[in-house]
């Protein structure tokens, strides 16, 4: 395997950054997230980043098209799509899986989302393995191998003081080629992955949930929820969006931005009808979506065990505990 000392990793990134836009996990203004590589970037390789890579492909706010509306007339103009390739370095297995989930949503089932596809098509994904799970991690419970990501162009391995690279796709091979001068070929054995603190047994959960729509468990689970969207906005798989406009006089821009099923306005209909009026309905929909509806539709869970929601929820809504409660119900 081709390796490089961790301390020398910036050389690799530096080299790639000459040709590509390189996004790396780094601490940026108080939060760890994927950040364009610069020399003074504060790399964050110890733990997974707080903000998942979702917003690289599906930004929180994205311009769709612009328009000019005056009296009876209307002009619509699309923005040109970018074509520069970008490399995203250091995506963990859980987040690689989340990109798989997002691909399902945005690229399959009759329609392809062109905004997502464009960014996805010009992204080269370098996955990075985990050896020491955080307290809140439970990716293995979701069937994810922390050392082997799905969909990567290159799989990078955390080897302690070194990083190993393995090309998976053709593009991956090309990239590795470009940095080969910096790498050393050597035999490596992958370090063992540490113990997981959190676990969830999802076996049979989607099926069991088919009969649990009216189960009293939802009253119980939902009571402490605040109906904020912290969980959804840090979730690597949550993908709901709203389409809104920003109008300044005659000129306007259609934007799409993240939305969340916890909000009242999300399903509120024009006449005032609200199909999911309260906490219970919304919390139930959220977890059914993750654990039943999404598997029904796309044959995979909409949770990757990254544990971000467990950490960030102000009232400790813990999906692993909810899965346990479902199992025990």
């Amino acid at each position: 395997m081709k390796t490089i000392a961790k301390a020398k990793l910036p050389l690799v990134l530096e080299l790639l950054a000459k040709e590509y836009k390189v996004l790396v996990p780094a601490k940026f203004e108080g939060v760890t997230r994927f950040t364009p590589y610069q020399q003074d970037v504060e790399l964050a390789l110890e733990e997974n980043v707080i903000m998942p890579p979702k917003d690289i492909f599906f930004p929180q706010t994205e311009k769709m098209y612009k328009f000019k509306a005056k009296d009876k007339s209307l002009e619509i103009e699309e923005y040109p799509l970018e074509d520069a390739m970008q490399i995203i370095f250091g995506i963990r297995s859980c987040d690689m899986k989340s990109i798989d989930c997002l691909d399902q949503v945005f690229l399959t089932k009759s329609y392809v989302d062109p905004y997502y596809k464009n960014k996805r098509d010009r992204s080269i994904l370098v996955a990075l393995s985990c050896i020491e799970p955080m307290d809140s991690c439970f990716c293995t419970s979701m069937g994810i191998d922390p050392q082997k990501a799905v969909g990567a162009d290159i799989q990078a391995y955390d080897l302690g003081d070194k990083i190993g690279f393995e090309a998976i796709s053709d593009v991956g091979k090309e990239i590795l080629e470009k940095i080969s001068s910096l790498l050393t070929e050597e035999e490596v054995t992958l370090p063992a992955v540490g113990e997981f603190n959190l676990n969830a047994d999802v076996e049979g959960v989607p099926e069991k949930l088919k009969e649990m729509f009216d189960h009293p468990i939802w009253d119980d689970i939902s009571r402490k929820c605040l109906n904020c969207s912290a969980c959804a906005y840090v979730c690597p798989t949550c993908h709901c969006f709203d389409i809104a406009n920003e109008v300044r006089g005659e000129d306007g821009v259609k934007i799409r931005c993240w939305d969340c099923c916890m909000f009242d306005e999300y399903t509120m209909m024009a006449g005032g009808h609200q199909p999911r009026p309260g906490k219970k309905e919304r919390v139930r929909n959220r977890f059914l979506h993750k654990l039943r509806y999404f598997p029904e539709r796309y044959d995979m869970l909409l949770c990757t065990g990254c544990g971000r929601c467990v950490v960030k929820c102000p009232v400790n809504m813990d999906i692993t505990s909810i899965i346990r409660q479902i199992k025990n119900a």
């Binding site: 005056k70 009296d71 009876k72 300044r248 006089g249 005659e250 009026p277 309260g278």
Partner: protein, 660 residues
């Protein structure tokens, strides 16, 4: 599709000299929603207005922007204009391009034109969000309430009654008459107070349009202008007003003696009593606290002696509720509590008295039959000292304000002492002598020059007893030396203060009062008898220290306001008022205290939530009270309150339009 018409006025050359009006009109054509735009020499003139009306028809305009002078000038004009053109008058906005543009930027036509264009764009953005508004009306109950039966209340009641309206006068005491009834003579004419007051009292009592409700208090006031629902507590008189003939046998025979409030406790009355001989109604009440029957259950003399069986011990307080269109508050004043000035020895030395005591002492029907005698030993005083500004103009111990009447009544007292006791000496300690009023200064001059009262400018520092004399020690600040006067009697000119329960009544009705608890007029100059609560007016000393002529004048002024109101069947209400979106209102009530007009109440509404009927509180705006200031809209965090014609949406649209 909304169709805005824009009309740019040249105002002759007033605007056109500094603003390129044609260009502004041309620019406006490209603003969203503008269907027609033009300019004209004089928009407000008849041809200009016709131009607007014609354009409304020809171009199917449904809202109008006029860019001209200040809306404070011509908004009513153009509202009428578009109304006669078939539009709701509130579908008008004005851009002020004269006072705010051409007149202040005469030398930079380019930028003035640019500014005018922007002002028009803001107005267009706003008018697109204007809603038609309708003036509604509220009915007026043709009945007035006067609270307080002193000279101010009597005068107001008579004026209202003479104009043909029904008026109820509520008086707390058993008789009307108030403070003026206690006074002996009035300055500056020295005519007898009773002689001029009593006929008024009789007149008001006999007036077919006036109902006197004495020995009664206001319990509760609800509603708003035109429709005040007032609950009045008629205290139990224990005497059947219908049966009683006022013969007086009962109080002649009553065994319980009580110090008379009317006589400043210098004389006794009975437990069943009329406050003074000329009382109206001249029918007694039983003072239950001091009545032997009510205290011990034994006695009942009055009942036994009453020839008409009018005494009724079983009477109870009665609450009556009546609706009034307008209220005049004329509750009068109290006197400052002089005991604050320990150095004057009031209460300690019997011969230190107040002005009002003095009024009773010189009154022919008073405790001394009009002879000035010392309360302590009944001797005729030789040396009388008057001290002015007791409690007034003294921020530390008393009130900061000037009590206004004391200079004159002290001069009056001084004159009377000199007149009645030929060999007397009168000393007046004063800070200033203030005599603005017709004949007032002449009166004061007579007091000093003709009657020889000695005025000493200075404060009194101490009064102490020496034998049967009172030593008054002070300083003559003009001569800059201490003075000491050996006095037989000292009269304190105590300040007029607000009634002790003044704040309570103001809160009940809902208008404001100042830090001294005098009632606050709506405007110190231009609305001196109005309160901030529509339909509630002020008369007399409840608003601030006043003498009789001022009180009477204010009472008549208040009466005119009432008559003006009651002369209408209904009153139009301003449609630019706040409105509550009940779906949003959480009922927190934050809007209530910020409303200066008490126009916001909380009400309970019922609604269905998840198949269950629940009730919750929401704010509601009383359209009769709301004046459209919009304070509530900012107090409401969730924007459940919005001010019509100046809505959040409209103001945001204006801000946005400015920045395009």
């Amino acid at each position: 599709m909304k169709r805005v018409g824009v009309f740019i006025c040249h105002c002759g050359s007033n605007i056109a000299a500094a603003v390129d009006c044609e260009k502004v009109a041309e620019n406006a054509k490209s603003f969203p929603g503008v269907a027609f735009s033009t300019d004209y020499k004089y928009m407000c003139a008849e041809p200009g207005q016709d131009l607007i009306k014609k354009a409304i028809k020809e171009h199917k305009l449904d809202r109008i922007v006029v860019a001209s002078c200040s809306p404070r000038m011509h908004e009513p004009t153009f509202r009428r204009c578009i109304e006669s053109g078939g539009l709701n008058p509130y579908l008008l906005e004005m851009a002020n391009i004269r006072e705010h543009c051409s007149w202040v930027h005469p030398d930079d036509k380019e930028r003035a034109t640019f500014k005018a264009t922007e002002l028009v764009r803001m107005a267009v953005a706003k008018v697109l969000k204007n809603e038609p508004l309708d003036k509604s009306t509220i009915p007026i109950t043709k009945r007035a309430l006067v609270i307080g039966g002193g000279i101010a209340g009597i005068q107001a009641a008579l004026d209202i009654a003479n104009a043909g309206h029904i008026v109820d006068v509520v008086e707390k005491e058993p008789s009307i008459g108030g403070r003026m009834a206690q006074i002996d003579k009035t300055f500056p004419t020295l005519d007898c107070s009773a002689c001029i007051l009593t006929p008024k009292m009789v007149e008001v009592a006999n007036h077919p349009n006036v109902n006197l409700i004495t020995y009664s208090e206001i319990e509760k006031v609800e509603g708003y202008v035109g429709n005040f629902d007032v609950t009045i507590r008629k205290k139990a008189r224990s005497v059947d007003m219908k049966a009683c003939t006022g013969c007086g046998t009962c109080y002649q025979k009553c065994p319980s003696k009580v110090p008379s409030e009317f006589e400043m406790e210098m004389m006794d009355r009975k437990a069943i009593y009329t406050p003074f001989p000329q009382a109206i109604p001249n029918k007694p009440v039983i003072d239950r606290e001091n009545c032997r029957y009510f205290k011990t259950g034994k006695c009942g003399v009055c009942q036994k002696v009453c020839p008409t069986n009018a005494v009724d011990f079983t009477q109870e307080d009665e609450l009556v509720t009546e609706r009034y269109g307008a209220i005049v508050v004329a509750t009068g004043f109290d006197l400052f509590d002089e005991s604050v000035y320990g150095e004057y020895g009031y209460g300690k030395y019997k011969d230190v008295i107040t002005g009002l005591h003095f009024e009773r002492l010189i009154n022919a029907s008073g405790p001394t039959m009009g002879k000035i005698k010392r309360p302590s030993d009944g001797k005729i005083p030789k040396n009388v000292v008057f001290i002015k500004c007791v409690g007034s103009r003294d921020e530390v111990k008393g009130k900061a304000y000037c009590s206004k009447t004391c200079c004159m009544y002290t001069a009056k007292h001084a004159t009377l002492v000199r007149e009645k006791i030929k060999d007397s000496n009168v000393y007046v300690f004063y800070m200033d002598v203030r005599t603005p009023g017709k004949g007032y200064d002449e009166f004061y001059t007579r007091t000093t020059d003709q009657f020889g009262a000695k005025y000493i400018r200075g404060r009194v520092s101490k009064i102490y007893e020496k034998g049967d004399k009172l030593i008054v020690r002070g300083e003559d600040t003009l001569l800059g030396r201490p003075v000491e006067v050996e006095a037989d009697m000292v009269v304190l000119a105590t300040a007029m203060v607000a009634k002790s329960d003044a704040a309570k009544l103001a809160q009940m009705i809902g208008f404001s009062y100042d830090q001294n608890h005098f009632y606050t007029e709506a405007h110190p100059k231009l609305a001196p008898v109005e309160t901030h609560t529509a339909g509630v007016y002020l008369a007399g000393a409840c608003q601030g220290p006043k003498d009789i002529p001022d009180s009477v004048a204010q009472a008549s002024a208040a009466a005119v306001k009432v008559c003006g109101l009651l002369s209408k069947e209904e009153m139009p209400t301003e449609p630019i008022i706040s409105a509550v979106d009940e779906a949003i209102c959480a009922g927190c009530g934050m809007c209530v205290p910020v409303c200066p007009y008490k126009a916001i109440d909380m009400k309970v509404i019922q609604e269905r939530v998840h198949g269950k009927t629940i009730s919750r509180k929401v704010a509601t705006v009383n359209s009769g009270l709301c004046q459209g200031c919009g304070a509530c809209t900012v107090a409401c965090r969730s924007a459940a309150l919005n001010l019509k014609h100046f809505t959040n949406e409209q103001i945001l649209a204006e801000v946005d339009a400015l920045c395009l």
